[in-house]
């Protein structure tokens, strides 16, 4: 189908865009890579009267390493730019971020789709949303009245809803700490499509490489938001995951923790089975990092 009529505005800088958004009110939408918004407009699930194209805001493009070990990625950076970033940019400490990109849509989607668009769209299976929760990211948000930092845990409110106001732009995502022992894996019927279930694991390993000081497990595709599994995390911190049966127990705890939906992509039962397999796989990958 074809989208409904709208007026197109081309943004020049962040301040100008946020002021324009305030002026235009609820009828306006930001257009970044368009890989989520344009399909919705083509289906007429979205009919904004104004589109503010922010693709020209080059200040929002880029990947930066801070001396304190934080990784900062500008909101307009494409998935593909992160996927192909040299290891001097996205190093071993954040390898999971780069490696997760091959799961985000297909090449022609990744060349256009942006980090900020994915987070603002807030699909519960989107890899960026999982990564944000997994690695305790801070999201930098700017509006006409100034800037604020929102912890990922407070950013996602539910299906496609976030802490962003209609006159605010997401400008940057900050991963504050190194997370070398982390992995993300998923299952989709066709590689590149949105995952039926995705699982991400991050481990804080002691020097012996086997004792877990802390663990975080996040699932996508099982609820309106990316879901943490505290019971499964506790299993890993209690027993050394290398020892027999611990990973099975952890995977089982994750599968029991969730109350997944049944839909065209899979029944609740099927999602539980996937969860068990994927959590185990992600743990194994994270440990061997």
């Amino acid at each position: 189908m074809k989208p409904a009529a709208f007026t197109y505005h081309r943004g020049r800088d962040v301040d100008g865009v946020t002021r324009l958004l305030r002026e235009l009110g609820e009828d306006a939408k930001v257009l970044a890579g368009g890989q989520s918004l344009v399909p919705m407009m083509n289906f007429r699930l979205a009919r904004p009267q104004h589109l503010v194209d922010i693709a020209g805001l080059r200040e929002l493009v880029g990947i930066h390493n801070d001396p304190d070990g934080a990784l900062r990625i500008g909101a307009l950076t494409t998935h593909h730019a992160v996927e192909t970033a040299p290891s001097t940019r996205v190093g071993r400490n954040h390898a999971v971020v780069r490696e997760a990109m091959r799961w985000v849509g297909h090449l022609p989607i990744r060349t256009r789709g942006t980090v900020g668009g994915s987070l603002a769209h807030a699909d519960a299976t989107a890899e960026w949303c999982l990564l944000a929760i997994l690695l305790d990211a801070q999201l930098t948000v700017r509006g006409p009245d100034g800037e604020r930092a929102v912890p990922a845990a407070d950013f996602f409110h539910g299906y496609f809803t976030t802490a962003l106001d209609s006159d605010e732009l997401l400008t940057e995502i900050v991963f504050p700490r190194p997370a070398p022992h982390s992995a993300l894996t998923e299952f989709a019927e066709r590689h590149g499509d949105f995952a039926t279930v995705s699982a991400a694991v991050s481990l804080d390993l002691a020097e012996d490489g086997d004792t877990v000081r802390g663990a975080r497990i996040v699932l996508g595709g099982v609820d309106a938001l990316p879901v943490r599994c505290p019971e499964a995390e506790a299993v890993l911190s209690r027993d050394r995951p290398g020892t027999g049966g611990v990973l099975d127990e952890c995977a089982e705890a994750a599968a029991e923790h969730i109350d997944p939906p049944s839909d065209d992509n899979g029944s609740a039962h099927y999602r539980r089975l996937l969860t068990r397999t994927l959590v185990r796989r992600a743990c194994e990958e994270a440990m061997t990092r």
Binding site: M1, G34, V38, P39, N42, L51, A55, H106, P108
Partner: protein, 181 residues
Amino acid sequence: MTASTPPHSTAQYENSQLVSLQVNGETYEVVTEARRTLADVLRQDLGLTGTHLACEHGICGACTVLLDGAPARACLMFAAQAEGSAVRTVESLADGEELSDLQQAFSDHHGLQCGFCTSGFLMLAEGFLAERPEPSRAEIRETVASNLCRCTGYQTIVDAIEDCATKRRAAFQAQLDGESP
């Protein structure tokens, strides 16, 4: 002439804009409604109907074109978003009646049957090979998963892309060998 009714209804007039596009090396100026996608403008305004359109929501890849060398879905962008970028469509591949090496490989390997999906696969492969001239077969398979083909079963498409990559590398090597003293 006295000013009377504008050429379009007010609503349409408000939403129309002048868009300057660079396509296959030529510059085009088009007056179009903001809501028209790059795919629609390529096909209807510029007459470049090699770019196909099917699902219009990013799933099938029939509309794939190159934007500054990178494959992109022409159904998922408005024409105005392509301003300032070099667009390449399937029409840029052949030289007159002579097929490009990639097109020839598709023909040799029967990488098409009905041909509806072919322009999308060609542009996908052209952009992919430019970035990854030495892809593994697994990488080619993962990449072509982005586009839908209802006829071939994909094996022949993968064969064609792999063969084209091999031949390009051989030609490049021959060129290097010829240059060395």
